[in-house]
């Protein structure tokens, strides 16, 4: 835990060092809303990010979901039957990831810089748990990204950041209905002359509210009562249906 915290500090420190300090007015960005509230009718949500630059350069926006452990399993064929053969655990993987940029990334952002700032799905740092790591790490990494893309939790293409005039920019960020709850970060990067000259990180919280929040809280805290309640509801529903049909 302490080691993890130290690592975090180091990463933050590196990020600060890596981004050259510039005048505060270089990049200013804000979200229309810092809370994505999940209610019963939630089918995904758009959050508007807007901001200004001091003029010139490109803007990249990266949304990262909460870090969670993930397992990737590979099937193999033995005696004509497919079964799980091998697995690799990744302890800390962003549960959600998407990128928006004012131009196609390869036109203004060198791979080295994209890698350093983890911009683009192929640059997400995916470290396997030491006991499950092996030579075919890259296959498992690719599979993780591919499977996340399949369920729309990782972006398959770069969304657009649009400039209105020379300085004002905006982008509509989409949070899908299956996005996991938790603390997200929105990173805004200003790129000039093939390097990040300014960056700003803003938190975004995806959270259940109202009935949804109360129900899942109840399920976790009073799980036995919840289970019994579920059965009582089911029994009453079955009985009611029978009553209705007897009359009908």
């Amino acid at each position: 835990m302490i080691a993890l915290r130290r690592l975090c500090c180091l990463v933050i420190l590196l990020a600060i060092v890596a981004v050259p300090r510039s005048t505060a007015a270089d990049l200013v960005a804000a979200l229309s809303n810092h809370l994505v509230a999940i209610t019963t009718g939630f089918t995904g949500s758009e959050v508007l990010l807007f901001g200004t630059t001091s003029g010139g350069g490109d803007v990249v926006v990266v949304i990262r979901g909460p870090e969670e452990p993930h397992v990737v399993r590979r099937k193999g064929r033995r005696l004509g039957i497919w079964l799980n053969e091998k697995e690799m655990r990744f302890e800390s993987v962003p549960a959600f990831y998407s990128v928006a940029a004012s131009r196609p990334l390869n036109e203004f952002l060198p791979d080295r810089v994209a890698g350093r700032h983890q911009i683009g799905v192929e640059n997400i740092r995916l470290m396997p748990a030491p006991d499950t790591a092996s030579d075919d790490l890259n296959d498992f990494r690719a599979a993780l990204i591919r499977n996340k893309q399949k369920i729309n939790l990782y972006a398959t293409k770069t969304a657009a950041v649009t400039f209105l005039g020379g300085r004002l920019f905006r982008t509509d960020m989409y949070i899908p209905a299956n996005a996991p709850v938790g603390n997200y970060t929105v990173g805004v990067y200003l790129v000039r002359d093939e390097d990040v000259v300014s960056a700003e990180i803003t938190p975004l919280i995806v959270s259940k509210v109202g009935f949804e929040a109360r129900l899942s809280d109840f399920a976790k805290r009073f799980s036995l009562a919840y289970g019994i309640l579920a059965i009582v509801i089911a029994t009453v529903a079955g009985w009611l249906a029978n009553l209705v049909f007897r009359r009908g």
């Binding site: 993930h70 299956n178 399920a219």
Partner: protein, 304 residues
């Protein structure tokens, strides 16, 4: 119309879920099976995480079984005494099965061996049932035949009991034993076991088909209620909203299933059941043999 499920953490279409509940409920009322083997793949298909799918459909099976049992009871087609004896065996069996499952998992691919023997077993039972009912239907017998696999030693077992509804006088060890075996199997396979229990009641116990369905549903209520509470406590993956939507469709579907069953005779019902058992066997073997689209898959990543 979309609804966000609080435990599954995803949005689903209200009418799709309702329809799935109704379809599975119909089979439940018609054949006396829980329908978990149908519901789980359907839920996975629309993207519900598997722990949530298994736990929530167990809850809806309670509802559709209650609905079905009450409808069968009105027609006098539930042998409660038989149901209790099966249940006692089933509870002991499933407890042992859960323990056995944990033990076998440590030994590697033994669950594959179980899966394979399950496919073979279901395939044989299904084919025999199918052949028999086709033969009976071709002969156009008016009275449904009562197939009985009786051997002398079965009649000599102790603890004889009279089951009036089933018109049987047999040792209580027999239904308790069947309940036990099905309990072990279902705990290992992670399914309700109605589609093994029903053929076993018809062919091993020799119960009349009409009574089998109601009695099977009766004991499924308790098995699935037990699963619901266990999963709610250990995994917290019962999605009450999903279960509610499913059971709204399920209870209605079950009533129609029971009605549809009343129009069919024993042979026709057994024939249809045989087709379904064969379908399950085919699906299980397909899953084992077919080349997956993606060899790699993500494990479950439910938020803690």
């Amino acid at each position: 119309m979309d609804i966000y499920l609080p435990i599954a953490e995803m949005a689903v279409n209200f009418f799709v879920i309702l329809g799935m509940g109704a379809l599975v409920g119909f089979f439940s009322g018609l054949f006396g099976v829980g329908g978990g083997f149908l519901m789980t793949p359907l839920l996975l298909l629309i993207g519900v995480p598997s722990p949530v799918a298994v736990a929530s459909q167990a809850n809806q099976i309670v509802a559709s079984s209650v609905s079905g049992v009450l409808a069968h009871w009105r027609r006098g087609n539930v042998d409660f005494k038989m149901g209790f004896v099966l249940l006692v065996g089933g509870l002991v069996g499933s407890t042992l099965g859960v323990w056995l499952f944990t033990l076998l998992r440590g030994l590697g691919h033994i669950d594959l061996v179980i899966r394979l023997s399950f496919v073979v077993f279901l395939g044989i039972v299904g084919l025999l049932m199918f052949a028999e009912s086709v033969k009976a239907l071709l002969k156009r017998r008016i009275r449904a035949s009562q197939p009985r696999l009786r051997r002398a030693w079965i009649d000599r077992l102790p603890f004889k009991m009279r089951f009036r509804r089933s018109r049987l006088y047999i040792s209580a060890l027999l239904p308790a034993g069947i309940g036990f075996l099905v309990g072990v199997l279902t705990a290992i396979m992670g399914v309700g076991g109605g589609f093994i229990m029903v053929p076993a009641m018809i062919y091993v116990l020799g119960m009349p088909t009409s009574v089998v369905i109601g009695t099977s549903l009766f004991q499924i209520i308790f098995v699935s209620a037990n699963v619901t509470v266990l999963l709610a406590v250990t995994n917290q993956t019962v999605d009450l909203l999903l279960a509610l939507l499913l059971l709204m469709g399920g209870v209605v579907g079950a009533q129609f299933g029971v009605r549809a069953g009343a129009y069919l005779n024993g042979d026709q019902l057994r024939g249809l059941l045989a087709v379904m058992v064969l379908g399950v066997a085919a699906k299980l073997s397909y899953d084992l043999i077919a080349t997956p689209v993606d060899l790699y898959a993500l494990g479950e990543t439910l938020s803690p």
